[in-house]
Symmetry: C2
Subunit: 408 residues, 2 copies
Amino acid sequence: MKKNLLVAQSGGPTAAINATLAGVIGQAMKEEQIDQVYGACYGIQGVLEQKFVNLTEKVDTEEKLEKLKRTPAAALGSCRFKLNDIKEDDSQYQEIVDILHKMNIGYFVYIGGNDSMDTVAKLSAYCKEKGIEDIKVIGGPKTIDNDLCGIDHCPGFGSAAKYISTVFCELEQEITVYEPKNVIIVEMMGRHAGWLTAAAALAEGKNGNVPYLVYLEETPFSLDRFIDDVKEKLESTNAVLVAVSEGVHDKEGRFLCEQEGSRELDVFGHTKLSGTGKILEEAVRAKIGCKVRSIELNLLQRCAGHILSKTDIEESGNLGANAVKLAVAGESGLMSSLTRVSDAPYTIEYSGVDIREVANKEKKIPVEWINEAGNGVKEELTTYLTPLVQGEVSSIYEDGMPSYIVLK
Amino acid sequence: MKKNLLVAQSGGPTAAINATLAGVIGQAMKEEQIDQVYGACYGIQGVLEQKFVNLTEKVDTEEKLEKLKRTPAAALGSCRFKLNDIKEDDSQYQEIVDILHKMNIGYFVYIGGNDSMDTVAKLSAYCKEKGIEDIKVIGGPKTIDNDLCGIDHCPGFGSAAKYISTVFCELEQEITVYEPKNVIIVEMMGRHAGWLTAAAALAEGKNGNVPYLVYLEETPFSLDRFIDDVKEKLESTNAVLVAVSEGVHDKEGRFLCEQEGSRELDVFGHTKLSGTGKILEEAVRAKIGCKVRSIELNLLQRCAGHILSKTDIEESGNLGANAVKLAVAGESGLMSSLTRVSDAPYTIEYSGVDIREVANKEKKIPVEWINEAGNGVKEELTTYLTPLVQGEVSSIYEDGMPSYIVLK
């Protein structure tokens, strides 16, 4: 008997999470075992609240599927909702199972990051424990942070990395327009891993010779050493570009912005950071006195549908399709994944990894890929990053404006 | 006898100023009366310091010309340098004339905004007064601010407007991802005119139904009324997008950021603004208490070579070519300009306007194009803006990164 497939999105938006959704829908429509494709709006919370849309009807042409692929953010909506601790109270899990049974869902693909993979791990473990074999739960990876374990790199990251490195190419043109000494500091997202910030290094030397300083979470940050670094660069040049992660911290692990600014917690208990770039800007102004400006890329870096990595969009779609294939093959409790076979030529293979190897873990940049001074990256890191930003696609434009598909 | 042409760039960079430069070079190479094309690096200051490059040699293929067209910022470099008051001391003007004579320059095209057109006005007036007839001085318009008089719209503005409206389309996808009430405030550049901020309105209603609030310099701004506006919108929706000009001010003309923050002056004596979006963010947090985030588009809005308006890039090039044609036809003291013949079909004509009608003046948005409440735009404004963002081009990418031409 045919079963339906349910797909939902969770965690922070990316410019490629809808490409994965499109991959899921496209593949599900090809599978003989699958009848209707449903989407839950606003993640697992939307499943509990039974906010469903029929995607077989809503995305019924190749044109719509292509448009969805190039629509940024999360077309089904997302949530930051943590299921109850399964050991303390498993009623939510049974509630989800009941809803899925009621809707004849045999396959559930949940697209998200670390926290979302925790949901997949718990739900699939619950099904296994209770002997519920007619629901297959598969994770679809997604995060601009690139910090998921069990996968070579994360869908969404390549497009964010391309946006960031493109912005650095552009700012390098900007900063050399005037002659007086000038420092531009750009702050990137990334709570505990510096991958996004490292992407800035891809731009260095491509269109000029402005020196870059790149500060990542993986090595301790010192404000004094930062000022010395900038001073040293300004001795031989008029322009310096600084890339800094919002989460840089000292040896004791105290975030720069915690030391100088305010501290807030999000619902997951993570420290909410902001203002790192601003603190560095003020330090340069006070201690060096040259022209300086800080830019926070903010939300722009995760929703820039107008400059997407073709490689990322293709892989994101394939990972969605692969998730469906895994589910239909009877797998559950896996995350759709990819392995890099070689850098040159860039070759990858799709696979599935045990979700327990992914949930609640973080993949940081290997410290041996960062230079000794802790202010730049080594060739190993750019070799890793370069294939991920290859090729360009963008949202589809109509009458001068991006045209998206709206599903909610 | 053939003469050489000199071209230079001045004022703030834009994503299209090099398209105008490319237009100048391309046309100059076609003109029989012109021998070599020289560029002065770093504007009029570079002329005085004799920092010249030979553009006939540097940009010697169609491919390089095309790459230059799509290179953001100002490939020749720029300056913020005000010539001495001609009535007090005209020695700088004679110095420039001597340098131009020495280099056999018969045509000088100076690309810039209001302040730069002041340079063109003074230099051409000096030549006229002194009977120097063998140097023709023509202005090439440029500014993302769109505030030049004597021209329907400014080259560089269309691309910045396209970038801004595209970003708003993307942020609209972002802001609807989560269910809780959410406000995003985006601060645009524009010292005394709200054109850039108005461009945000082009995105409203294109991909959803998030309400926009748009605050322009042209109407007085009240923080209390802003909070009331946001509260009112949040009564019927969960998401509000706010577009605000850095230069919004109260009835007495006091900038919002002057009232609440610090005040600095640039070399032209203009108040240097920042922090308007941040002030609004803090106000929403304090007085409404919902989720809120402010984003400052900062330099990104003037150097986004990865999303250019095709219309803008073509017109910018044509305005450069038109400047050369005017000079060769014996004109001096004009700015290359364009007039809109009709909105639909969008038709324009190229012309030349007396530089004195342009220099040191500012064109604001007509207040009758702004709604009564002062928080949105009327159809007249979107009708004016729509043709300017039509079509997409981007920088040329090589190996995943933008590839520019470096002239300095």
